[in-house]
Symmetry: C2
Subunit: 260 residues, 2 copies
């Protein structure tokens, strides 16, 4: 019944099938998510005094300092990637005066590893806006034999993570960033169409939880028509400064203007 309710609601909104969930917490969260989606509220609007948390893998980590991790709004703690660039833009404008911005991305992480460190790495930080970019390692580490994952496992784990997040932080605004690759460096034809299924799974998870979605793949696909893929991410996975700038701008657009 739980599954059906969610499936019907979610499918009605976003054309996606539901995932098998059990337990009251999951039921409630799924109900809330579907309701949110039905209201067409899958936008994460940044508030003027929000606590903002970036989570993910190496693309988010981007060499951030662990020593300074507890300090909001510090360049060292924010790394040198899109999270820092988005933060720098916010903090250098009138909009950013009241924000507190953290980065807790960890290189190499897959979605189950976010779950392992979620209490300290997310819940206890009490973000008002939580942005997650995860997925490229879920496929990459499976391809190179370091992990035994599938799209279904990725989607199940990702969904469970957001159910748990909503239970602990009912009012959190969620941003799900689309995993992306560029066709150069480590990325060859063997990644497709499997990688596209991971992207689609991230989209379904976003829709099911009323999360805003940042369409990085379509953005980079078009960017690769303007400049070679290596210009945006020389190994096909990790963005250059130019790639990170593009991501930061797309992310800022999705979270929109600050409202009080």
């Amino acid at each position: 019944m739980t599954i059906d309710r969610r499936s019907v609601l979610a499918a009605g909104v976003a054309g996606v099938g539901g995932l098998a969930l059990s337990g009251c917490a999951a039921t409630d969260a799924a109900g809330r998510a579907a309701q949110t989606a039905l209201q067409g509220a899958a936008r994460a609007r940044l508030g003027a005094r929000d606590r903002v948390l970036f989570q993910g893998d190496s693309i988010t980590d981007a060499g951030r300092s662990r020593e300074h991790a507890g300090e909001a709004n510090q360049k060292a703690a924010l790394g040198d990637g899109y999270a820092w660039q988005a933060a720098a833009s916010l903090l250098s404008s009138d909009r950013g005066k009241g924000l507190s911005i953290w980065n807790r991305g960890v290189s190499g992480n897959k979605v189950f590893q976010l779950a392992q460190r979620w209490q300290q790495g997310c819940i206890e930080l009490r973000p008002d806006l939580l942005s997650i970019l995860i997925g490229v390692n879920d496929i990459w580490h499976t391809k190179n034999g370091k992990y035994d994952g599938t799209v279904a496992i990725y989607e199940r784990d990702y969904d469970a993570l957001l159910v748990r997040t909503r239970d602990a932080l009912p009012d959190v605004a969620l941003v799900v960033c689309e995993p992306f690759v560029l066709r150069c460096g480590a990325i060859d034809d063997s990644w497709f169409p499997e990688f596209d299924h991971y992207r689609a799974a991230a989209r379904r998870v976003a829709d099911a939880h009323g999360a805003a979605f940042v369409p990085f793949q379509s953005m980079f696909d078009r960017a690769a028509e303007l400049a070679p893929p290596e210009y945006w991410a020389d190994d096909g996975v990790h963005p250059t400064q130019a790639g990170a700038a593009l991501m930061a701008r797309a992310w800022l657009e999705v979270v929109g203007a600050i409202s009080d």
Copy 2:
């Protein structure tokens, strides 16, 4: 009477004094500008199929190819600075599908030199949205003996340029970018408070013509609290890629979402 009318209208809106203008064209343009300002319309909203033109000095030029200057939306023609970065962001999003974007910045230019090449460099391109960043050479070249300018000359020339622009392109959306410096490299205490007067003049010109204003100086002042000034512009004048990224995002924010 002309002067008085404009002064009163402009002062009523933006608290700025009027400039001495003569001739019917100037009168009409000033009247239109004041009316625009009175309507609170000093926003330049980017339209879905706009022709966009970046104009200015080396900061806009940023090594653009003259050979490809006639081709819209080409990286080579857009240089490697904030204009390219803003264009890349627009062109890699759904918003950018119908846009045509040019860059005609020329290194070393002062405002009177824009005027000398304005017919070909602006009017004949018929932009729907025109963005101008000019001013740092007006003071710099005066300080180093290459030019004999003053704030009053800068403001007079800049105002005349926008009067002429509005006469030729009555519906153009104008963006006036604030000249800026960072306190490093070529910039020492001798630049102040003189440079602040140039910034204030640009602001007055923007207000008088109903132009959107991009507050680059306050943005960089705050950015310099996040990372050293050299990180944003190593010589204090020409932005690094990080500085250009910050400018592109601020610029995109000012021109806002595309509306049909």
